[in-house]
């Protein structure tokens, strides 16, 4: 079991769990919840990137919880940025390093720039800045959006990434309104992939598939230019489940087809993990109810709410051009014209 160091700046793909590097660049002693998958994402993120990395962290759980108070769990250099500023932080940092190296003011070497944001800061407030940064192909950075499906640090309010019907402090379930939040989750990674063709790498991952996630992060950093990775992080506090089940819920999110794992490399879309297995027919999608029933934020769901949830996920798998990625359908008559032969994905009935 080799203890890997990353002095060379090259980041090869990790073959398996036994090849995951031991170096810890995000260490114990942060004030996160029991079972916090976002903290695990942070740990894997810099484990994958290695020490020649600068991390910019926007306001949110991964800022406040990690540095409460006047302390730090980071071994790599780290700087705070504003809630909606991850895109700008990545861009400014990358541009600053680039020009200083070009002018000979600092040593010319590969330095990974990673800016992270939560779903609130990234998919809501900061989406404009992220979009802008993904068009700047001359600057190398990774924007990592860790999605616990709420503004978690302010004690759980809904964001555009909160699932349909979920309870938050802005969407309580009451006697007049059973569901106050009826907006469907905005497709952030798909949107970034579709809208920024000059970004060489966009991916959706989950810490329940740790090696897959770390390899995605490495690929992003190795390919260069502006890149984006979106992780789905089960959150015991906001989702209301016992922390020991965080990994299990991550698996269920993928196995139900709710959260597809994929990457888009230079415009080529590649499904990964169980998502690929589902598309190939080797695995049946589990019913969404198996996932929803484990979480207190859905405890108020009536049958019709579960049915709507299932139907929407089904539609994503049976009708979308690429499930989880591209929501368009192409009319039958144009399929030949547009060279899109949309055969039904193999056996899409749920298990």
């Amino acid at each position: 079991m080799a203890v890997e160091t990353h002095g060379t700046g090259t980041l090869p793909q990790i073959k398996g769990v036994k090849d995951v590097p031991y170096d810890e660049l995000f260490v114990s002693g942060h004030r996160t919840c029991q079972g916090c998958e976002s903290a695990l994402v942070m740990r894997h993120m810099v484990k994958a990137s290695g020490p020649r990395t600068i991390v910019l962290g926007s306001t949110g759980c991964m800022y406040v919880a990690n540095t409460t108070y006047y302390t730090t769990p980071w071994v790599v250099p780290w700087m705070h940025t504003q809630l909606g500023a991850s895109g700008s932080a990545a861009l400014g940092t990358a541009a600053g390093l680039k020009v200083l190296m070009r002018k000979g003011k600092i040593k010319d070497e590969k330095i990974n720039v990673i800016a992270f944001c939560g779903d609130g800061g990234g998919a809501d407030m900061g989406i404009g800045a992220i979009s802008a940064t993904l068009t700047h192909k001359d600057y190398n950075s990774l924007i990592l959006l860790y999605d616990n499906e709420s503004y978690a640090n302010t004690d759980i309010q809904l964001s555009s990434q909160t699932p349909y019907g979920a309870v938050t402090t802005f969407s309580p379930s009451g006697t007049t309104h059973r569901l106050m939040h009826t907006r469907w989750k905005k497709n952030m990674p798909g949107m970034m992939a579709a809208g920024h063709p000059e970004s060489r790498y966009i991916a959706a991952g989950c810490a329940a598939y740790a090696v897959d996630l770390m390899n995605k992060i490495r690929k992003a950093l190795e390919l260069g230019g502006p890149t984006f990775v979106h992780t789905l992080d089960p959150c015991p506090k906001g989702w209301d489940y016992h922390p020991q089940y965080s990994q299990e819920l991550g698996h269920l999110a993928v196995e139900t087809g709710i959260w597809p794992l994929y990457e888009v490399i230079d415009g080529v879309c590649n499904l990964t993990g169980p998502t690929r297995q589902i598309a190939e027919g080797r695995k049946k999608r589990k019913p969404v109810y198996e996932y929803l029933k484990r979480q207190g934020r859905f405890a108020h769901f009536a049958d019709e709410d579960v049915e709507h949830f299932q139907a929407t996920v089904d539609k994503m798998w049976t009708e979308w051009l690429i499930p989880g990625v591209i929501p368009f359908t192409v009319p039958q008559k144009d399929q030949a014209l547009l060279r899109v032969e949309k055969k039904p994905l193999h056996e899409q009935q749920t298990a």
Partner: protein, 384 residues
């Protein structure tokens, strides 16, 4: 034997020390009820959470306060406070909290009785006798009254409250030790009004009747807990530009040790471990050290007791979560397994209640199938 706390005649301050998020609603309910019950006899009061605890984190200790005063004027001294520095009663609604409370960096682990004045009280919800709870409590520096409110710790989440009447029993216990401020009749009237549920009212009475009291003298308790104190630097010593040193490679944050957030801790059967890496890999708190033989041992100073390791471990009963109150120290244990195998396994069995016998071997539990290698595709392409 004292059975009632000594307080200022003009006001009483009560703090509920609780497990963040898991017991947030419980703590709020208790404090609000203390104030509303006192209202029935014309007193006034305030209830508030400690701002620095917010946002709360699952398991990390937090505090909620109730202050009752005879009139508004006397109440003023307790208003606009971040937290009272002195309280009359501290209530721990999870007995593992008596091992000490550390809520964030630079704060250090605090004895549960720290803000309680001499002659005050510490109430603890527990299924254990007072002696066992006291054995895990820091040595008393002032005499106080210890009360055991019978029952297990009541844990829930943010959205779904577990109404197991713990709050009513605690109110009854408070009425027992502070009858001048929390009258049992007022408590019962309030509960009846709010719930119209006779069993809820009965639970308050049960708390009142069954809470076991014990005087604690100076020097009673354990001196085995780590004392951590930090001096906060002044502005001339603080680095300009709001900068702190990074952690060094291999270090864990010395200013914030998370073990105080733990209700359960994992114990490991190294004999049955198959070295699959999953516990180490999936721990959000980076609590596992890799041993020279490729096992993964728990760094108990860092572990927050979330239980993920026990869930993802594919071997039945290789990692078992055990009541934190059963342990006196935070020492790492792999060395013991290496040097005195029998003693370690005896320790494992005593703590976990599970046999360490390697002949009763590794069957992947139904929960653990997700932790099998196939669930972690080794390449991004998904081939496994």
């Amino acid at each position: 034997m004292a059975s009632v706390v000594v307080t200022d005649p003009t006001s009483i301050t009560i703090e509920i020390v609780y497990r963040g998020i898991f017991q947030k609603t419980l703590a709020q309910r208790i404090c609000r009820s203390v104030v509303l019950a006192a209202r029935k006899r014309g007193y006034t009061g305030t209830a508030f959470g400690r701002y620095g605890d917010s946002p709360e984190r699952n398991g990390v200790p937090a505090k909620y306060f109730a202050v009752v005063a005879i009139n508004d004027l006397e109440l003023e001294a307790s208003m606009a406070k971040y937290e009272p520095s002195v309280v009359d009663i501290a209530v721990a609604v999870d007995d593992t909290l008596v091992k000490g409370v550390e809520s964030w960096a630079w704060y250090g682990r605090q004895p549960i009785w720290k803000p309680v004045h001499a002659g005050g009280a510490v109430l603890v919800t527990s299924d254990k006798p007072a002696a066992e709870v006291l054995a895990q409590t820091d040595k008393a520096e002032r005499p106080y009254l210890l009360g055991i409110v019978p029952g297990l710790a009541s844990f829930a989440g943010l959205w779904v409250y577990k109404d197991d009447h713990t709050d009513y029993r605690v109110l009854g216990a408070l009425a027992k030790v502070a009858p001048n401020w929390v009258r049992i009749e007022d408590v019962k009237t309030l509960i009846q009004e709010q719930t119209k549920d006779g069993s809820a009212v009965a639970s308050a009475q049960e708390g009142y009747d069954r809470t076991q009291l014990r005087d604690v003298k100076v020097g009673e308790g354990t001196s085995g807990h780590e004392v951590l104190q930090f001096e906060k630097p002044g502005w001339t010593a603080m680095r300009p530009g709001v900068i702190v040193d990074a952690r060094k490679p291999g270090e864990r944050n010395p200013y914030y040790k998370k073990y105080g957030a733990r209700t359960l801790r994992p114990v490991v059967n190294f004999d049955t471990c198959i070295k699959c890496t999953m516990c180490w890999l999936d721990c959000p708190d980076e609590c596992f050290e890799v041993t020279p033989e490729g096992h993964y041992e728990v760094v108990y100073e860092a572990c927050i007791g979330c239980g993920i390791c026990a869930q993802v471990c594919p071997v039945k009963d290789c990692i078992v979560m055990v009541d934190e109150l059963k342990f006196e120290d935070n020492d790492d244990k792999w060395q013991l397994w290496k040097t005195d195998h029998a003693a370690y396994n005896a320790w494992f069995e005593a703590k976990s209640g599970v046999s360490a016998d390697p002949k009763r071997l590794a069957v992947a539990s139904s929960k653990a199938e997700n932790a099998a290698p196939g669930a972690n595709p080794t390449t991004a392409g998904g081939e496994d």
